[in-house]
């Protein structure tokens, strides 16, 4: 059985990764699970300058999901280099993919220029889809023209894999995915959180400070599966599926929809062992269904 996933000219040992923002920089979860068994870790977003994040409350729970509005809190690229890279250097076998966010093209490319020489950085996931910051992220991700230009600028600066992370909060996700492919991206991640809102009817106020936030968890899985299905039919670069994967059955659903790899997000909060359990389940399913490699999943659904 071959579990490997090729993106650009690099190989991930298996298709199971942990989604950005749910897994820090690996350090916290490294005490609970063996990181070297993971295919990839997508770090918390890194921006040029430190960001304190949004005022609280930042979280609320909803039926089959949760809404967050963290606001890309991070120590900035210098803090990343000083405080996070030393730990990332110790992670064996697993691809460390740095999630990069910004408000302008310049902010994205500066981050990449500053970390591209770090050997332990396997590749980048470009966050053009965060619903929780006012001036950036989503503003890029909803406009195919800007997405293509940004992707081209990033492509010029690095030979490492570039993965564009797409938002479902658009009219047609396939046009944005196409812009990524034309711009020279090596893969796309589908999907970031779905914009959501919860209102406390007793206080007559939104449950989180930013009023709206990003909905994640099993509630959004069908949205993610549909996005992966549609995008993978439209473009020829690999699609990385995420959104509400709680167990191996959910992961298999994403592979059948057209995903070449997957990410576990909210489920890490509920059971930190989920990525390992999902990987074991994928192996059993492949054995029982006589599938040799991940691309074998893609031949079932037209």
């Amino acid at each position: 059985m071959d579990l490997s996933v090729k993106i650009r000219d690099k190989i991930m040992q298996n298709p199971v990764g942990t989604a950005s923002g749910t897994f820090g920089f690996g350090e916290e979860y490294g005490e609970l699970i063996d990181l070297s068994q993971l295919g990839s870790i997508y770090t918390k977003a890194v921006t040029v300058l430190p960001r304190e994040g949004n005022p609280l409350p930042r979280l609320t729970e909803t039926p089959y999901g949760m809404i967050n509005s963290i606001g890309l809190a991070n120590t900035g690229v210098k803090g990343f280099l000083e405080n996070k890279v030393p730990f990332l250097n110790t992670i064996k076998n697993c691809a460390v993919i740095v999630n990069v966010a910004g408000s302008t093209e310049d902010e994205y490319t500066k981050v990449i220029d500053m970390i591209d020489s770090v050997d332990s950085v396997w590749g980048y996931e470009i966050n053009i889809s965060c619903p929780n910051v006012k001036c950036g992220g989503l503003a890029f991700g909803t406009d195919p023209v800007q997405v293509e230009r940004l992707t081209k600028e990033i492509r010029k600066r690095t030979n490492k894999p570039v993965i564009m992370k797409l938002t479902p909060n658009v009219t047609d996700i396939t046009t944005v995915a196409t812009a990524c492919e034309i711009g020279g991206a090596d893969a796309v991640s589908c999907i970031n959180t779905v914009m959501g809102m919860k209102i406390d009817i007793n206080k007559k106020k939104p449950a989180i400070y930013q009023k709206t936030g990003g909905l994640s968890g099993p509630a959004i899985k069908p949205v993610g599966v549909a996005a992966v299905y549609r995008v993978s039919k439209k473009i020829s670069i690999p699609v990385i599926g995420l959104g509400g994967i709680m167990n191996w059955e959910d992961a298999v659903e994403y592979f059948l929809a057209g995903a070449s790899a997957i990410q576990i997000g909210t489920a890490n909060f509920i059971d930190p062992n989920t990525p390992i359990d999902v990987l074991d389940g994928i192996k059993r399913y492949m054995t029982n269904n006589k599938l040799e490699k991940i691309s074998d999943f893609h031949s079932f659904i037209e």
Partner: protein, 251 residues
């Protein structure tokens, strides 16, 4: 920290709406007073719920919880036949005080303060434990052993002092307040009042904060509180839950 399935030893109603859940905790990770765990609900809701350890001895640990929503009502039906998924111990505990400790517990904050009181008594620190509640029905029967002086304050005066915990301390323990350290856990409004009391008497005050949590291990930055540090927001789960009250921006 570790995540493991733990056998339920007992799960009893100890006061109105308050339960004590005792479970087997055989691990090299020994909880300290003030540290917490997260408990995974059976089925829905999804997110794990944080609770402070209320005791730990001889491979047995416990929490005290109040039934408020679906998750905690679900926990109340656990029996000795069940096992539960626990992630812990998490966060920082209380620091050992330099002066006589005055432990203040409000509502569900009782759990960690009981654990702290027993631990401090064993260390010979002669803690005073002040418990605040709306009325006597919310106060469980306590067996704290020697070395803990227990003071009770109820809003309606149905047990102990009539009034809140800070009024109680100022009225009946004014002489001690000048030379003690406060450690507290309870509703936000009570913690703020304890902080103000500490400023008034120029004494130290450790507060155990509570916020909605997702990961509980420091990864998601969901459970932050506003602080006076240059890094404005600190994580309750990882940087706390215990903070020096002077670090917190009180709203």
């Amino acid at each position: 920290m570790i995540q493991k399935q733990c056998k339920v030893i007992s799960n009893k109603l100890i006061a109105k709406d308050y339960y004590e859940l005792v479970f087997n905790w055989e691990s090299s990770f020994n909880p300290k007073p003030g540290q917490f765990l997260t408990l995974r609900p059976q089925g829905l809701p999804l997110l794990r719920r944080p609770f402070a350890f209320s005791s730990f001895k001889d491979n047995r640990a416990a929490i005290i919880y109040k039934t408020v929503g679906k998750a905690t009502k679900g926990f109340s039906s656990l029996t000795e036949k069940d096992s539960i998924s626990i992630l812990g111990p998490l966060g920082s505990g209380f620091d050992l005080p330099k002066k006589r400790p005055v432990l203040i517990a409000g509502g569900i904050g009782l759990g960690p303060m009981l654990f702290t009181a027993i631990d401090f008594a064993e260390r010979g620190l002669s803690p005073i434990l002040v418990i605040g509640a709306r009325d006597k029905s919310f106060i469980p029967k306590l067996e704290l052993g020697k070395g803990v002086e227990v003071v009770i304050a109820t809003d309606d005066g149905s047990l102990g002092f009539k009034g809140n915990v800070t009024q109680c301390l100022k009225t009946e323990y004014n002489n001690i307040l000048n030379n003690c350290e406060i450690l507290c856990c309870g509703p936000h409004i009570m913690l703020k009042a304890c902080h103000e009391l500490a400023l008034e008497y120029d004494i130290e005050c450790q507060v155990s904060m509570e916020e909605m949590m997702a990961c509980a291990v420091g990864a998601c930055y969901g459970c932050v509180v506003e602080t006076t540090h240059q890094e404005k927001y600190k994580r309750v789960c990882k940087d706390g839950p215990v903070f020096n009250s002077r670090e917190i921006v009180w709203i």
